[in-house]
Amino acid sequence: MTTFVKNAAGRRVPSEVNGQSAFAYAGVGMHKPEGRKQAPSVRSASDYPANGDKRVADLETALKKCDLRDGMVISSHHHFRDGDKVAVAALQAAARLGVKDLMWFPSASFPCHTPVIDLMEKGVVHHIEGSMNGALGDYCSTGKMRGLGVLRSHGGRWQAIQDGEVKIDVAIIAAPTADPFGNADGSHGPSACGSLGFALADSIYAEHVIVVTDNLVPFPCIPWQIQGNNVDCVVELPSVGDPAKIVSGTTQITKSPDRLLIAENIARFVRDTGIMRDGFSFQAGAGGIALGFVQFLKTMMREAGVKARFVRGGSTRYLVELLHEGLTDYILDGQTFDLDGVKNLANDPRHVSSSPFTSYNYHGKGNFASMVDVTVLGATEVDLDFNANVNTHSDGRLLHGIGGWQNCLFAGCTVLAVPSFRDRIPVIVDRVTTLTGPGELIDVVATERGIAINPRRKDLLDAVKGSSLPIRTLEEIKNDVEKMCGVPQKPVLTDEPVAVIKWVDGTVIDTVWKVADQPAKSPPR
């Protein structure tokens, strides 16, 4: 019988998650675990082929060699996004070996991973700890998954691996290029995807590591981001991914005038508050508004003769253009979103791969995210205390993973770029359905109906005095929207947990509840 406690954010959370006791969220920076970091078993080089050739015939052989057994943890990574063919192939190979009750630990899941539902039905996979949306999200949201889903940020995934909360038995690393020793890299090959940063922790801390590639090169694979010294086996597949779905050809700036208005207002905000100054830094992802923000800011930087020291991405051609125009010294790239980003990462020494360790990890001696001056993020819901939800629809259904979102909240100024309503549904609410990030870390909410500054940030409120920016309060924006849209009914949620949301330190910040049986939310045909 699961017991529940109220955490520091006032949310009801289980004290046990998938058989392990869990800490309730205690506030920002309050939870500081002690002890030693997790490590794989001691190994001897004499057990591995002296000629460095670790190739095996297929995935089944590799899994057998890595001693995969019932109830183990198998991990994979999302740098191939919706084009990934490796995770499902590995889990299906495990099924052929007759293995049961695996915990699948992806860094994120995509619609291409829908076949895992079948593997859960057959008992091969017990549950998933990683982002779930689409069909997998519905499977979890409707209470069909056996264990609890556990959603972690990119930094939180590294933290959980490093402090032993999750012990990976077998890590499967899909690699666009690799050599027989297991050195691997993402910037070259037919399935080039850019940085492999998400797989780094797994390569270091997993008990066994399998590299899977469709582009085997003779030793050495140059450059290498994954070190073969951590790798047990190398498997060749005809294709590891669908290049068309691995990266988008080009990322697109939003065409919606409302969203462009939000993007432009954020850029003006960053300029007028003086955050935009020589040597500053910012982070922007690949969302339509974030890309629009980069374009507007670029023009303003050019006009003011201001140059950034570094930008963090999600790299796209817009960041690459910024670099080539000399408006930033470096791109620190956590993941690469389009072909221009992939190409530039491979060729430009000023475009550098980063990882959740360098950028986000709670158990590091600091990380990059908190050194960024301003970051622009999205959200599904925001409440009047600036608390935000990125994980569920307003009816509690799983919608998005956390990604680096929670980790980025530690930037000098965190801006949430959100429309004030979507399809009549207000985004600014009294209480977020699911709490992903606490309001004390969210400084600004920018909508098409005005920019709201968190009252905690007196400095920012002072900085915009006298500017022509549309500064308003969240209450004002909420009232405007409710006047237009009406106040929505409250969806009914059940009392049965289906997943938990972890904070960056490994504590549980909120619970996702099974959605009640109600009429389909999907649009009519």
């Binding site: 208005l261 109600q518 009429p519 009519p524």
Partner: protein, 401 residues
């Protein structure tokens, strides 16, 4: 328009947002049967049902099967689509189903107000109207003419009428472009009671069309609030009659040109530099100025070409135009920038106005600035420029510092 008790309005499909589709079939008994599917059912299902029931009651519809596919439409849209379907089914004759007004009317617009930018909004697309007031154009145009498919005219008219009652367009002057007469007269019957600030009359070729519109408005108008007119000249004949059109009614505040139709009428291609319309635009401008009206330029059709727009707008200002149409919100700011006098111009004009005031105070007949004598027309131009700059907020109001 009765259609054997059957009516449909609105849009259906995966791409549709902020709109809905209504199908209604009159029945002889059995009350109202409502089949509702909505993208926002969980949040607004009850509200949508209540809205539909109330609207049907206002329309006096007691027995009908109603099928609604909703994609997050706001209440005024739901009411307009439902009413359109009901009327198409031949029901609700004579009933006033207007929703309660939810936005306050701003004070009447001034005859000579700033009209640098007017943003066109297709009258049948509610999604674009809801946030149109955020872009700070001087005016918005709810368009019933070219942007609305002939089969959607009746539905668009009701939607535009409801928008005038329910959408907050900020400080923008609220304009409606009606259809060519006689269909445009039907548009007037729907929108004039909602007191728009201005009616754009398309394809005006002679003063009689303006008379007819002015007379119809006068008959429909309640209260003393003016509804201004802006004729659009879109043919060779219209351009020839520019002055008589400009002087056809006291309510005409501006003339504008539709270059797309005008060039088609001439049988020439429209170019980026616009020499083929230069004469027509100059003729219209001269007629407007002669009648004491504003001359407003056409729209710039390429929304991707902001540089082209800016240079077009600057040339338009140099010719004497006071504004342009916009077909995308991103054009608004570019146009405002292009129509703003430069700092040098303002500075010079302020000096001239100052010198004039000083000369006047000293009882001097001759105004001079430095070593130069200033002629009266130069003073007048400077006065105009300062007044304009003041309207645009580029110069503090008199008495302010």
């Amino acid at each position: 328009m009765a259609n054997q008790g059957l009516g449909e309005a609105g849009r259906m499909g995966d791409q549709v947002r902020s709109d809905l589709h209504v199908r209604i079939e009159a029945q002889s008994s059995g009350g109202v049967k409502l089949d509702l599917e909505s993208k926002v059912q969980l949040y607004y299902g009850d509200a949508i049902r209540a809205d539909i029931e109330a609207t049907l009651e206002r329309l006096g519809v007691r027995h009908a099967s109603v099928t609604v596919h909703d994609y997050g439409a706001l209440p005024f849209v739901i009411q307009a689509r439902l009413e359109a379907a009901v009327r198409q089914a031949g029901l609700g004759v004579g009933a006033d189903a207007r929703p309660a007004r939810t936005v306050d009317l701003l004070p009447p617009s001034a005859k000579k107000r700033l009209r640098r930018s007017r943003l066109y909004l297709p009258g049948d697309q509610p999604k674009l109207a809801v946030n149109a007031g955020l872009y700070e154009s001087d005016a918005i145009i709810l368009d019933l003419e070219d942007s609305v498919h002939p089969s959607a005219k009746d539905a668009a008219r009701l939607l535009v009428r409801n928008e005038l009652r329910s959408v907050d367009f900020g400080n923008a002057e609220r304009m409606v472009r009606i259809n060519q007469l006689p269909l445009g007269l039907e548009d007037l019957r729907a929108v004039v009671p909602e007191q728009p600030d201005l009616i754009l009359i398309p394809k005006v070729e002679d003063a009689k069309q303006v008379h007819e519109v002015a007379k119809t408005i006068d008959n429909l108008r309640q209260g003393g609030r003016p509804i201004w007119l802006m004729p659009i000249l879109e043919s060779a004949l219209g351009i020839e009659n520019a002055f008589s059109i400009a002087t056809a009614s006291e309510l005409v505040v501006a003339l504008t040109i539709g270059v797309e139709d005008y060039t088609a009428d001439l049988g020439v291609a429209k170019t980026l530099e616009g020499s083929e319309t230069l004469w027509a635009r100059s003729r219209l401008l001269n007629a407007a100025r002669a009648a004491g009206l504003q001359a407003i330029d056409s729209v710039f059709g390429d929304v991707g070409d902001m540089e082209g727009l800016e240079s077009w707008a600057k040339r338009a200002r140099a010719l004497g135009f006071e504004g342009m149409g916009c077909i995308h919100p991103r054009q608004v700011e570019v146009i405002h920038r292009a129509f703003a006098p430069s700092a040098t111009e303002i500075d010079k004009a302020l000096k001239i106005v100052g010198a004039f005031k000083q000369a006047e105070a000293q009882g001097l007949g001759v105004v001079s600035l430095g070593s130069k004598m200033i002629d009266p027309p130069v003073v007048e131009r400077a006065n105009r420029l300062v007044a304009q700059a003041r309207q645009m907020g580029l110069v503090p109001e008199e008495g302010e510092q």
